[in-house]
Symmetry: C2
Subunit: 289 residues, 2 copies
């Protein structure tokens, strides 16, 4: 069983996962030396202990859960691998990021090369909160060891021995949820810019009432849009690797980049003042080049 | 009031619209000289009369409803305009196609240049059938005249004087329905190719049951995929014209082009033997390059 878990890094998802593990009695640590004041505050609030840097992290941890924006996953794994090699420590490294199977296979090579065990993990759902736990999918040789977290307040679904499968399911799942959000946002902003918003909404009320209801959730998206850009690019790369067009998700990345460049993205998820759907769409239409 | 309506051309949607008008006592004509045997058969079944060519069509008709694949809309309007100019006839020309506002404005210029009246129309919904009527949105100077079809078994929603608005609402509406179908198809085929279909379906059952239900309609798509390529390209052009990324819908066009290149697209909508969702996804995954 694990006694100490390293969280890399305690952002919105990471701090909530670390908090859940701490609640269940595990020691939870993070290397917060160079992180933002917000990250340090979120971590302290849920009982995550600061061990300074990667050397401190690998020394303290039995397992490390890497939960980051996709673009940082590979460089971070390299940094941890360097610390593992320098200290001669072996632990379980779980890459929990929304990255393409081919990316996670490279990371498995980096961690394996430093003499540690690796598990391909992915998180389906939002951050843990009272009464709610997202599902961690886990594949690869370290999946069974990782599944011990089932006794520590997380839900782990084992998928077998192949590194890449846990990331693959995450890519396809994110393609649905975040792909839909991109699609809905684009067509609503287009309708606003074209001056047919009211007519379109009227038609949706008659023939697409369910879709209209799904669109109600869109105002929660802008604060996450910047980090979703990288995830869309990983989905595009995943689909291209099997011979499908990458363009739908390259376009979703473009859309989230556009949203991320507006003031709407400056809110944090916990901040007050979420706009209505209509306000969000008008602000985005006003931000078009 | 109209006595004779020309349908250009009586494919799946056009023959059903013509059939509805014929049921209501209008004379309905088409230029079937160079059309396929299937189109000629569909037309004859619902009482559409063959008047041979464009000269015959403009001579017989009080109004022409142009209902085609998007790529043919502009060249067809030019052909009709030439016949109008040659015969000196003036009538109401309704472009009912799924095309970008900028495309329909060019067509308005072509028809206006030949001395006829023009209405920008678009069809939201499937072909008319007993108990069901799709909605025709209509904008531009000819919209009020076109709305007389409200008394002839169609449902016309007038949108005002601006050519482009009826096409704009169609583009945004098709972006939802056909964009979703492209998105769902791509992620399901990717999951199949990546070997995680069962795990993904299991997760959808738990957390995306509604989306899974929406995916049940996908096996009806392949026979329409070839004609949807052009509609996706028109949506991409529409969105690019207001400053949004065209890539999501360029990708949707790629996806429908891929589906259209498989044997699944060889069925006609009225043919028996529709595959199950699982069969469709496996066949598409097997067709990847």
């Amino acid at each position: 069983m694990f006694k100490t878990i390293g969280i890399l890094s305690p952002g919105d998802m990471g701090h909530a996962v670390g908090g859940r593990l701490a609640e269940k009695g595990l020691r939870v640590v993070a290397a917060l030396g160079e992180r933002s004041g917000r990250t340090q505050r979120l971590a302290a609030q849920v009982g995550i202990e600061d061990v300074g840097d990667y050397a401190g992290l690998v020394t303290a941890s039995d397992a490390i859960l890497c939960i980051l924006v996709p673009a940082e996953a590979e460089a971070t794994a390299q940094g941890v691998a360097d610390a593992l090699a320098a200290t001669g420590i072996s632990l379980l490294y779980a890459d929990c990021n929304a990255i393409a199977p081919q990316t996670v296979r490279r990371i498995a090579g980096i961690i394996g090369g430093a003499g540690s065990r690796f598990v391909d993990a992915s998180i389906i759902g939002g951050p843990p909160r009272p009464g709610y736990t997202p599902r961690f999918y886990a594949s690869g040789p370290g999946a069974a060891e990782f599944a011990a977290l089932n006794d520590c307040g997380l839900e782990v679904v084992q998928m077998g021995e192949r590194v890449g499968d846990a990331s693959a399911i995450k890519m396809c799942y994110g393609a649905l949820t975040k792909g839909q959000s991109a699609l809905y946002t684009e067509l609503l902003v287009a309708a606003e810019a074209l001056g047919v918003s009211d007519a379109l909404t009227g038609e949706f009320r008659k023939s697409q009432a369910d879709a209209l209801k799904r669109m109600d959730g869109l105002p929660g998206m802008p604060p996450k849009s910047r980090r979703w850009v990288g995830e869309m690019e990983e989905i595009a790369a995943t689909f291209a690797a099997v011979g499908l067009t990458p363009k739908i998700f390259e376009g979703a990345a473009d859309l989230y980049r556009f949203v991320g460049d507006t003031a709407l993205a400056d809110r944090n998820p916990e901040d007050p003042g979420k706009p209505s759907l209509g306000e969000m769409v008008r602000q985005l239409a006003d931000s078009l080049p």
